[in-house]
Symmetry: D2
Subunit: 97 residues, 4 copies
């Protein structure tokens, strides 16, 4: 919940709103799968397809947020002097992404 | 929405209920990220961490459903005589999982 | 090195030869990256691109072997009576693929 | 093969040598799988396990190179003034990694 240094590193406004909108749609997608799972005759592969689509949509949000983070905060790390912290926390996230 | 052949291939009851429960929790997780995104001072990396956690949880559901599908429907495909269809649709899902 | 049960479960001949040929090409690719890495002026991103391509090629082999395994051994597991073992070992491989 | 701008952006010496050494080991691993594939009685799952291990080793090299790139070149992009190019090429690599 904390930026790695004294300076405030916030998600840029446009990306934040885009991510919000996409997450609302993902929530709807999750609810769709919940309804599928109410059906006793649901076929496994249909569930797997929906889960894969949800992961794809979550990755899409992640890519947008990552791009914004790289541009606004990672590319400016040397100027702020917190490259090591910024890189460490990013590598942690990119593991097995 | 359709089983690949005449026979009904349904997700087994226990897995279906487990998946439902996990999806309810994932919906809650998505709603948590939506609340995070209401905060103008949200830090990108915190969002990325949550998205990664959501994907992890979705993959967990997927693994359970996949295991059930492999055991109940793929392992029995030769007996039913629909191996090719079963394998094709599974390979489609496993791509870039 | 051991098939999960009494019966011999071998990689089918055609897939084995195809995999061999692809692996020879992957070895060549690895050697190409080794030569790149001899150059002191190599740019990181060029290395990353090559590594990604190698993983893509390895995944391609994996997909072919997996498809063959699903069709020849997983789809016939119930007939042989070793579904649980076959599914367990497959799930182990599919984790974080 | 080209750095994104006027300045030379090279993989740092230590990472380059480490990557070289790891790639030599990966080549050996690939050769091991080639020998496995000479055996007509090879079991599919043993091949899949080895391919997964190779991908894991390639990812390990990739992580080291990526970390070095992030620290040496991405974190300094704003200073050089090539943030957009640096971020674009990085995002391209991180897709479906």
């Amino acid at each position: 919940m904390t930026a790695p240094c004294c300076q405030q590193l916030n998600l840029d406004e446009k990306t934040r709103q885009d991510a919000h909108q996409r997450l609302v749609s993902i929530r709807g997608h999750v609810e769709g799968v919940l309804r599928m799972l109410d059906d006793e005759k649901i076929y496994c592969v249909d569930v797997l397809r929906q889960l894969k689509a949800i992961n794809g949509a979550v990755n899409k949000v992640g890519e947008k947020v990552l791009r914004s983070h790289l541009h606004d905060h990672v590319a400016t790390a040397a100027q702020r002097g917190d490259s090591s912290i910024i890189v460490d926390e990013l590598m942690e996230i990119l593991k097995y992404r």
